[in-house]
Every structure is written in C-alpha cells, then in structure tokens.
Amino acid sequence: MSINQSGWRPEMNVGTGNAAPTFTGNKALMLEEALIFEIGSTETTGVDFADSGDLGDSHKLGGLFRDTPIGLPGLAEPEAVRHYTRLSRQNYAIDLGLFPLGSCTMKHNPRLNEKMARLPGFADVHPLQPVDTVQGALAVINELAVWLIELTGMHGVAMSPKAGAHGELCGILCIKAALEARGEGHRKVVLVPESAHGTNPATAAFAGFKVEDIPATAEGRVDTAALKARLGPDVAAVMITNPNTCGLFERDLKEISDAVHAAGGYVYCDGANFNAIVGRVRPGDLGVDAMHINLHKTFSTPHGGGGPGSGPVVLSEALSPFGPLPFTARQADGHIALIEEETAGDDHPHTFGRMVAFHGQMGMFTRALTYILSHGADGLRQVAEDAVLNANYVLRSLEGSLDAPFAGAGPCMHEAIFSDANLAEGFSTLDVAKGLIDEGFHPMTVYFPLVVHGAMLVEPTETESKAALDQFIGALRSVAERAKAGDVSLKSAPHFAPRSRLDETLAARKPVLVWKEPAPVAAAAE
C-alpha cells in the first residue's frame, strides 16, 4: 500500500516502531502509573499535624470506635504530587488544544476566574454564617443574577441548581407548581424534540410527567406543525433546546411559544447552547418561560473532568413566584437579604421549596461573574459572534469532505454537524473520532444528536484562533479522507494515545468498580 495523504503508512506498527518494548512499559514522557492501592501503604502519611491526636480511653464516641482496618493507602507528599501529575498527563484538556465537543462549549477557562474564586473572602466563608458577615458573597450572587436576567431578558432567576440537569429539574418543578396553583395539575405531558439532550426526558419523567417525542424536519429543526397539532389540555410544557443540538437556531420558537401559551402550557428552553446567542438574542423575547444556563459552558467555569457545574435558571414573570429557596434580595438600603424558609412565608408563598442544602455553587458564581465582568456587554456579544463564525468556518471548510446534512439550509450557529454518510463501507464515526485522537485533538461529540446518522457535532467555541482552526480542519479532513478511502489503520486507532481502544463491553458485563487486593497466587490457582 502506498503512503496515503496523511503520510501515514498503514502497514507499519506505529505504536513501537523499531524499538524494543521497555522494561517499565513507559515510553519516554508517556508514563504508566500504578494505583494508589498498589504504591501506597496505610502507615504512610503526607500530612504532619501539630498534635499527636491520642484518643486515650475517655473518648465520647458512643462506644463506636472504629477498630477495624479501613484500607486507605497514604502517600508522602512527593509521591502524591508525582502520582497525580503523572495521571494528569494521561488526559486531554482545553489547555492542550482545541476540544470541539458539540453542545459542551469547551472554551478557554481564564485563570483570573480561578484566582478570584480563591480569595479567602469567597473560599473561606461558611454558608450558615450570619447574613451580616457574608454581604460580599450575597452581593456576588445578586450581581450575577442581575447579569443573567439582563442577558436573557427574563424576569427572575433561581441561582441554586447545581448543574444543567438540576436546573432543568428546577424549571420543570416551577412549571409543575404553576400548573398546580392554577388547578391544572392534570396536565401530564411534556413534549420533547427527538434531538434533545437525554437529560430533558429524564428530568420530565423524574418530575412525574409523561414524555412524548416531537419529530424533527428534514432540515434539522422542530416540526412546528406536528408540535402545534399535539398541543392540548393535557400538555404541561414543551422542552426545546435553542440553538438546537443540530447547531441550528429554532426560527419558529416565538411562534411555538405563542401557541404553547395559547394552549395553556409553558416553554422550557434548554440553555446549553446559549453561548451562540448571548448578546445577540434574548430568550425572553422569544416567549421562553424557563431556561437553565450552564455556567460551565457559556460562562467559562472549568468542567473539571466532569463537574462541578452550575445551572441557574432564568424565569418568566409567570414562573418566577414558584422558584426555589433560598434566594437573595437587595433592599433599599443596599443590604442584601437571604430569603430562606423562615422569611419566605410572607413575601414568597408560592415557592416550590428547596433543591439543595445551602446556596448553590458559589465557587462557580465568582468565576462566572469574573468572566462576565471581563467581557462586558460588548465582549459577550463578540463571544457569540466569534463562536458562530468559527463554527461556520469549520462547516464550510469541511462540507466537501464530510456529509453535512443541514449545510444547504443556511448558516449554522455555534456548532457544525456532519454525518457518516460518505465514509467507506465498514467505517464509522467512531473510527473518525479515534483517528482524530492520533492527530492530537479531542474528538467532537459523536452519535449525538440521534436524528443524524453517525452524528459528528463540532463546536470549536470562540476561544480558538484561526491557526488552531486551520490545523483542526486539516486534521479532520485528512482523517475523513482516510475513512472514505478505507484506510484500515483507522480501525485500530488511536495508536499514539496512552491506551488503545478500551473494552467497554467487558467493563459492563463484569463490573469492577473498586480495587480489590489480588488473591494470593495459591488461591488464584484454585
């Protein structure tokens, strides 16, 4: 076989080349790392205390002293630092390169945010301190709340939800409470488009609603006619993602909202993709009743390998009275009050209650507010414009190489979607994704949304330079051409990652979820 376009020689064992295997399994800077249970010991500690901590005999532990071994290994500080540093190097991250996970908005995480969140006045404050001693913390919450309300054109905001899915639940519970207050608790159906995030139907079902799908049109948007036809006295709400998960703006959202309202329902908007429109469109102007905002997406708080998130929910005038406790309220004298169970009774009788202990993700609020103040109203508008520009640049640069099912219908918003339609027989989206790993990129979101076969959803975000985009486009084009040409080396990609493809079936069939001491050799032979 000849050398292909990418310079890759498929027949060559690229993993080791001509080199002999190493004794350690390490490959220079690519270091293998054992588990703490294999390298640590229960006698080792990396922490010194001023005090010996002798419990003596007179302790007051209710006779429940833990006298059995716990099995927690310790490492001295140098070992611990090395262990976690080595582990960190097995991760891809936005700090290393473009991270085009569609619908996840992996943008740069400014370090000023981190610095501000660590100010002792924010980091070292207890949630139950007397309100007079936490006025600065409450001011952060209040100031961020004002920004979120203004940016979305909504009436109120619930700050306490812990992540996007928790925010969805908050919005849906507001809707349920509002319906019950109207004596229409019998509305049991929530309509969810096929292209929605899995959290939408899971949330609605969790709150006791029956979920019904709404089909998409051939051009990737909600089928407005089908949706309108389904509206009726049993429909509580519609959950719509805008821009949607195909990366398209739902042009009919205002018309849909009006129809839903006329039929007595509410409109929930999944705000996961708010980054595309911040400063350009306000959801409140489109008739939305509730929308969560992922601070870890649009407002740059770090994803941290799977959280923490933060999911404030902006609410329309109709839903605001039902929002959860606690919340802040600025008084005429500038003092910020905390409205909790005891104070809600008089002024906020319709609240659906508390969703979480304490006040929400304060550490994320400080980061998000720092980000928002850095950008200002003008900068945030530029964020949306550059995010959309970058996505369209990717779409138009690659539509000749990969099938782009909705490209003919006009521009995309913040993300470009491709399908597996023109890959060679036997080649899949997964192969393209794994090929991108070898090119030094995190793959795009794959196989989501479900309405596109073998979907590849690319969201570059606004924090990528043109040079970075050009390199990514070149890499994805190269991998796509290999997949179209039937380059079999792609089937075993990635070749250069810390691990080759992992056996997920084995993991699920025989789950090993915690480390167990290996059986002694003699016992293992039995």
């Binding site: 002293f65 936490v134 959280g307 103040l373 959309v388 640049y393 699920a508």
Partner: protein, 452 residues
Amino acid sequence: MRYLPLTQTDREAMLGVIGAATIDDLFVDVPEAARLDGPIAGLPAHASELSVERHMTALARRNTVAGEVPFFLGAGAYRHHVPASVDHLIQRGEFLTAYTPYQPEIAQGTLQMLFEFQTQVARLLGTDVANASMYDGSTACWEAIGMARRITRKGKAILSGGLHPHYVSVAKTMAKYTGDALETAAPTLTAETDIDALIAAIDGDTSCVVVQYPDILGRIADLTPLADACHANKALLIAVVTEPVALGAIRSPGEMDADIVVGEGQSLGVGLQFGGPYVGLFGCKDKYVRQMPGRLCGETVDADGRRGFVLTLSTREQHIRREKATSNICTNSGLCALAFSIHMTLLGEAGLRQLAAINHVGAAAAAARLAQVPGVELVNDSFFNEFTLKLPVEARPVVRTLADRGILAGVSLGRLYPGEDALANGLIVAVTETTSAEDVETLAAALQEILA
C-alpha cells in the same frame, strides 16, 4: 478582548471562506423582531484584569473570613486544613480543563482517579461500591430515597429527626412531585437519638429509613438495631454522613449493615466556599449497583491487553435511557472528587485516624470548657467533632452578638429550625484541627459575658 484570539483580518478572511458579507448574515435565522442590534444597554463594557480584580476583591472584603476569627460553624460544612499540594494539583490544566471522560483513551488520568476515588469512598463508608460523585450530600440523600423506592417498590420513607434540615427540605421538595410519602420529625434537645422511635415506626410499607451519623446535633448511635429492623421489614437503611472525617474514628455505616450510605465530602480537600461546589458521596451494597444514580468508572483492558478504565453501566443513565434513567444527573462533581481523593491519599489511613482523633480530642475539651459557662448545658453524651449546647436564652441573637464581636460561634438551631420554639436555645458548635485552645477560651469568655 484578551480571551478572543481572532483578529479583524481573520474575521474578514473567514467570512470570505463562508461566503457571508457580514457577521449578521450568520444570524439570519433569528427572527428580526428579536435581534439585538448592539450590546445590551445599561450593562458595563469589557474590563481589564486589574479592574475586575479590584471589583471582586472589594466584594470579598465584605465577608468575614472563617480563618481570621474564632470559628465554630459546622452543621453540614466543616473547616479543615487542606494541604497546599491539593489545590496545586487540581489546578493542573489537564484535570481542571478536561471534560467528562467520554473518550477514555485520552482521559485515563480522570478515569483512574475516579476508580481510586470510588474505592476510597467505598472503604471509608464501608460499602461494597461507590459512584463517581454526586452534586452534594443533600442531593445524594434524595437520590438514595428514590433508589430505595425503585428497589423495594414501596413509597414511604422515614426520615430521622437527626437528619440535616436542609436535606429534609430537599427530600420534601422532590417528594411532592414523585409521590413518595415522607415521615419527618424535628430533633429533640436530648442526649438520646431517635433510633428507638424510628424502629417503632417501620412497617411493611416502609421503603427506607434515613438516618444521619453523626446526626445534626452531633450525636452518635449504633445503627445495627435499626438496620436489623429495616431488613426485617424489607426496607433499606440509608445512612447520611455529613462529616467524613468522623469515619476515621467511628465505625462506618456499612459495617453496621446500612444498605446505602451517602455523604457530603466537602470536609476533605474542598473547603467551605459559602456552600458549594461540594461533592456528594454515594455508596451501596453490590446487589443494588444497577439501581445507583450517577456515573460509575470501571476497570477493563484495552485492545493491547493493558489495564484501563472507562465509564460503565451507563445503561442506567440519561444519555442512554432518557426518560427511563435512574436519575437525570449528568455533570457531577469531578474536580471536587479529585480534591477529596488527593487529600485522602495524602492523609492515608494513619493520617485520617490522627486527624479524626485530633478533632475529637479538641471537641471534647471545648465541650467541657463551654459547659462550664454558667447556664450552658452540653446536650450530647456522644459526639465526634461537633456537639450541641443548650443556652439559657435563645441562641440566635447570641450568635449575632458574638459575630459583632468577631466570633463566629456556631450554628443556632433557630436558624435551622425557624418556628421550633423547643429548639431555639440550641447552638451547634464544631471544633476541628483548625480551632485553637485560645479560640475556645475566647468563645467561652464572651459567652459568659453575654449570658451574665
């Protein structure tokens, strides 16, 4: 704008490739009536790093910092010393700026850490397995109640009066919508917990009993008889631990046969942060693992036979099961789980036991000293690092007065249980390794003065 790399030249060149005349052409799908034609009026424009820093620092200065005053608050969030290396390591960009490990070949760092975290948590809680974290203790507690409903197919949960009132509130909120019946009670200011009353309340309809250990007043009770009573009625015992350091000194709920153990992991590695983000711990018996909420990391091998880790059993989860998922949780608390795990690794078993002992010894000394203040009674016979005092007057105004004198004295039960007159004189006091003997003396002296 320092976070936006595109130059005007880039933008024009890219519009050219796209075939659009202006950026507005890319927003054509937005209905005209809803288009904003410029930055939203009335909001400030972009700002330099220096000026943002000044603004935020000024806000931060308006808070009383826990570490700068005698400080005794607990009740679900605890101030511990976090080793410097923890914060350094979690700020490595490869951890901080990674996503949920959907592509395991380039996320082994996060995945191996989660596998280690799950093992540490399971061992600490005494459960067979643990998941990769929840949002916090209160939501983990709610999820456990829902899980018990799915397992037992019964819908009556009995919540101990010793369960943190915010956790009770969260459970009540959710129960309104899921149809679970919750039996709840306020705690009583006595040395005895409500274990006997809970045992008496269990019947054939009970899905679970939820008990906090140590409880909101700091009391510690043997959970074994309660577990037996639950199991005799085919109900599950859910134990809630809000102070994981305690499990370095006292038996784990799992050892006492609790079926599900949930907790707030904030004490290790995370810091107070005015209530969040924190990290929910969630462990259970092996046989219930497929009803667990949240992400699970599991061991497997790669195509070359090398050990590796993946997210697994995802058929429980929302992105696969959609409306049939065990929970709607997606993003959880990965970075806080990392902080917890690093702190736990630095401590090790020996360090955890020493830390726990220091906490208990300090708390015992503080309890004895504060009980000497005329009119003040110690409610607890048993406690770990937190106990409840009964003052001769309502505690809430006392806490406010002490705050004015620069002492953060604890959490008044009046704050946690508004309207419960029988609890109004209660004050929960927490003492950790960060509390000095001088702090205790300062509090005792001030309390004596105020109560005189």
